[in-house]
Subunit: 191 residues, 2 copies
């Protein structure tokens, strides 16, 4: 996912215009079609929330293309959403169940692509192995955060940093596995 420098993936009204912020970082990696394909080609399926799904549909209907190719998309939502001419399954139940029982047995490289509430919940529930945090060079002041409602500390291990010629910086982290749950961990520290 891509965020502003101050950590917002969208404005409060859902607009993501700021992601197009133009900058030049000459020593950065050029993100051309081949580089994009080498990243996106390895993805087996996408998981997202309702607003991210609606944003993708809006992008498509405005002529900007379909962001997820022919890859299956799972949408976690309690709402009745419009379908599309793309492979999609809606899921109104528990998020952990969706990932553990429905998605992980069938797919290997699963990308959770937003929004902030879904990403925060995935982190909180320990469902995520890796975080790719990309930042465009602009502060927007307020909006929807990359991670909403995480509710606990989640330490990471830095794996890779990449600066692109557009001024975007991508940080790749592994989520550190904690052997105990937060409540037990607290007991452990106290005892």
């Amino acid at each position: 996912m891509v965020a502003s420098l101050d950590g917002f993936i969208a404005r409060k009204d859902g607009r993501v215009d700021f992601l197009e912020t133009a900058d030049e970082f000459p020593s950065g990696v050029v993100l051309d079609a081949a580089a994009m394909e080498s990243v996106l080609g390895g993805i087996d399926c996408y998981v997202m929330g309702a607003r991210t799904w609606e944003t993708a549909l809006r992008f498509e209907s405005s002529g900007a293309g379909w962001a997820y190719g022919d890859k299956p998309v799972f949408v976690a939502t309690h709402r009745d959403l419009p379908k599309a001419n793309h492979p999609v399954e809606f899921w109104a139940g528990d998020l952990g169940q969706l990932l553990d029982e429905k998605v992980k047995p069938r797919f290997k490289d699963i990308w959770v692509v937003g929004g902030g509430a879904l990403c925060g919940e995935c982190l909180r529930l320990g469902l995520v192995d890796e975080v790719r945090y990309a930042m465009v060079p602009i502060v927007i002041g307020e909006g929807i955060r990359f991670f909403e409602e995480v509710g606990r500390d989640v330490p990471m291990h830095l794996v890779e940093t990449t600066a692109y010629s557009t001024g975007m910086v991508e940080l790749r982290y592994q989520v550190k596995r904690q052997t105990t749950m937060p409540s037990q961990r607290e007991t452990h520290f106290v005892g």
Copy 2:
């Protein structure tokens, strides 16, 4: 300033324990005393808000040392704050006036070191030339943001990225100069 991966410089109660998050990034730059000195040695003075001043005093009284050496410190505050055995001036007036009339004529390399409200206001008022945004590898879910109350878009130019052996990543940006003020710019777009 240093923030969590989700952009918080302190927890809601002011604690900054998470900044000590341990990680290993073997190919990163080692931030030893000499490297620290080469960065900090060039600083002419510091500008901060009341809570940052109080945090520095608390650190010192807990035996962690004084963070700002013998450099002059300007504290923007409307409160009556404890002094210290360090050069300090308190300023209860306008922030732009503090920087433009009091600090900039006497000092060249001025570091605004927090908190989030002061940094946000400096950005909003166009008082900042450069932003150094360092991130430690942990998500903490909630806290005091790096930039609070910016109130407008502030585009940046990426200058440098540095990954440290501790897993901290520092991004250095120049604030892009806008030739018109926000209100005028809005008129410009509308007209």
